[in-house]
């Protein structure tokens, strides 16, 4: 399984609520959305689809390449890897 890259934090690897990017979640892992670091149009589109702060999101499929599939607000949505990398999340489950 892949380890989440934590910016500027060393040492303890078992920090439960470490921040990260949506593209780093493994299949089955859940997280809460914190925000999107993107241009206005993309943010607006993502927000309308349900990617708003505090919304729960589950990673459905992530093979490390190609677009990912997430489940947000009862909907399965495919996101390009670049787009998924722009969404900041806080993990709520899953391990390393």
């Amino acid at each position: 399984m892949r380890r989440v890259r934590r910016r500027g934090v060393r040492g303890d690897r078992d920090l439960p609520l470490a921040p990260g990017r949506l593209s780093e979640l493994n299949a089955g892992e859940q997280a809460i959305i914190e925000g999107c670091d993107a241009g206005h149009m993309l943010v607006s589109r993502l927000s309308a689809l349900g990617f708003t702060p505090d919304a729960p999101v589950t990673m459905v499929q992530n093979f490390g390449y190609g677009p990912v599939i997430v489940s947000v607000r009862d909907t399965r949505i495919a996101l390009g890897r670049g787009e998924a990398a722009k969404i900041r999340v806080r993990r709520t489950s899953g391990g390393r």
């Binding site: 607006s44 589109r45 309308a48 349900g50 677009p67 607000r73 949505i77 390009g80």
Partner: protein, 663 residues
Amino acid sequence: MSDGRSIRVALAGQPNVGKSTVFNLLTGLSQHVGNWPGKTVERKEGVYSHNGTEVHIVDLPGTYSLTANSAEEVIARDHIIRERPDVVVVVINASSVERNLYLVAELLPLPSPVIVAVNMMDVAAQHGVQIEPDVLEAALGVPVVPMIATKNQGIHELVQAIDNLVQDGTQYEPKKPEIRDDHRALLEELNELVVGYVPSPYPSDWVSLKLLEGDVEIMEMMENRLPEDVWDRVYAILMEHEDAVVAVAGGRYEWIGRMTRAALVRPGVGQVTITERMDRWATHPVWGLLVLACILGLVFWLTYSVGAPLQGLLETYVVAGGAEIATRALGNAPSWLSSLVVDGVIGGAGTVVTFIPILVIFFAFMGLLEDVGYMARAGYVMDRFMHLMGLHGKSFIPLYLGFGCNVPAVMGTRVIESRRGRLLTIMLVPLVPCTARMMVLAFITPLFFGAAAPLVAWSLVGLSLTVLAVSGVLINRVAFGGERAAFIMELPLYHVPNWRTIGILIWQRSLAFFKRAGTVILVVSVVLWVLSALPTGEIETSFLAGVGRLLAPLGSLLGLSWQMMVALLTSFIAKENAVASLGVLYGAGGEAGLAQILPEILTPAAALSYLVVQMLFVPCVATVATVFQESNSWKWTLFILVFLLAVSFGLGIVIYQVASFVT
């Protein structure tokens, strides 16, 4: 604005909610399909009668929200604000209520009253979702009608609800979403600044909310209307709170959460749905490709085993039969008239008629895949490869269909959501070698290359596809700045297809093709016939031949005679005509005769260059007509013609010079 005899309803909804099924149920075949004025977005309207009232329905484009991010959203919101329909019916999908209600949240502040139709109740039940329409109605304060449109359930209740609302709107008290507390003061400040300058029919508080969201269209509108100092203050506020769009969206979802708390029951954790099970295969990077390959293989098999024979039958009985009847009927007429009708008109119309089986099969295939929900998976699986060319994953299927026939392929680009992606795909479809071109390939290669013929043929197909990929990258970089639209695609739940919906779709698309492309083909056929007959009645000395001779210098660079250039010109009607024209021009009398003559007048290098040009050349007129229809732009249609001319002749010349140098 109802006078008791006729009312106007707008039908709204997000994609994948079954809105078109509802629309079809309400309007049947009374529906009329066109375009929204000045746009390439499809507009459907229809009518039904109920209790003596005529109800006119407009099907608004499916949109997730009402921002200014896409033409569809602007069309939808403009229609409601400007036309003020008597009722707006929002169709939502019972299995994605939370997200679907976002559109409802955007519609409630608008002037027209709303009815919520909760469709696909059966699909929700299959996936373990339960929704209570009565509870939702009490929470929202608007009529809520449960439906299963694919089974004709709920339609009477919907019609009744529309009627009730129009007759007596006093009970209509919607609980509109309110902005979050932390932004309320901000919204009021904006409202005070702009009120009085907002042009009717726009509601003032809606405009303020849109400004806060950073809506580009509304910002532009108000910049033009506000006095400079007022606009400066508004702009300053907006710049300081650029992230307000997130707060507004978040606020709507909080409202939705409160509305659905009591009305919605979700499946328990761990319950695996049908969709999840099927997607384990369909979206897998490896298996997904296999599934796609099988489905595509099935289409091709169907086309050749069912479509081709049907085409042959039509050719023999309808076209040739029609020609026979016409010849007999015009027995006493002057021979030029008889030839005009038989060769020109019926020949041209015959081409259109023989398209029917292929078109129907392709439209049925695309309609079925879209309805079942698989189309999105195909797009997902192919996106990895498509995005290398600057294309969206959904571009793959239309391009693939091009192998059969470019015409339905161009029409199939409608599944692509972004205009840019759709345009780019439309430009690239003509580079996909269709069966007609392959037939010319199959006829000519054995005459010149003997045993190496299949190798040459496949290399030429490979060349076409390489040119396609390179052109895609080039056009994308030059015309669209090299970037492509963000890849965000909903994967709807799988569900049983609705044949009625698909049937109506096939009917409409086929009709659209005949009306547009059909007339163009006919006209061009007649024109070409005229050019080939005048002024002497013999093709060798006709205007068409004159044009061919004019092009002879260009032809010589390719090693081609003026007759070959004429054949290229006639292939504009239909690619297969190239062979027939050559037969006539060389007096060969049929394919066998031509097979003997050609190797005597062409070198293999010349044959090669001819084939290269033929493969990459301007597509048949039906395709050009469809490109124009789907792109709605003279500029782009002209661009692709010029581009293909340049590429085909350019490459043809290079290949001829190299090949004849080598041999």
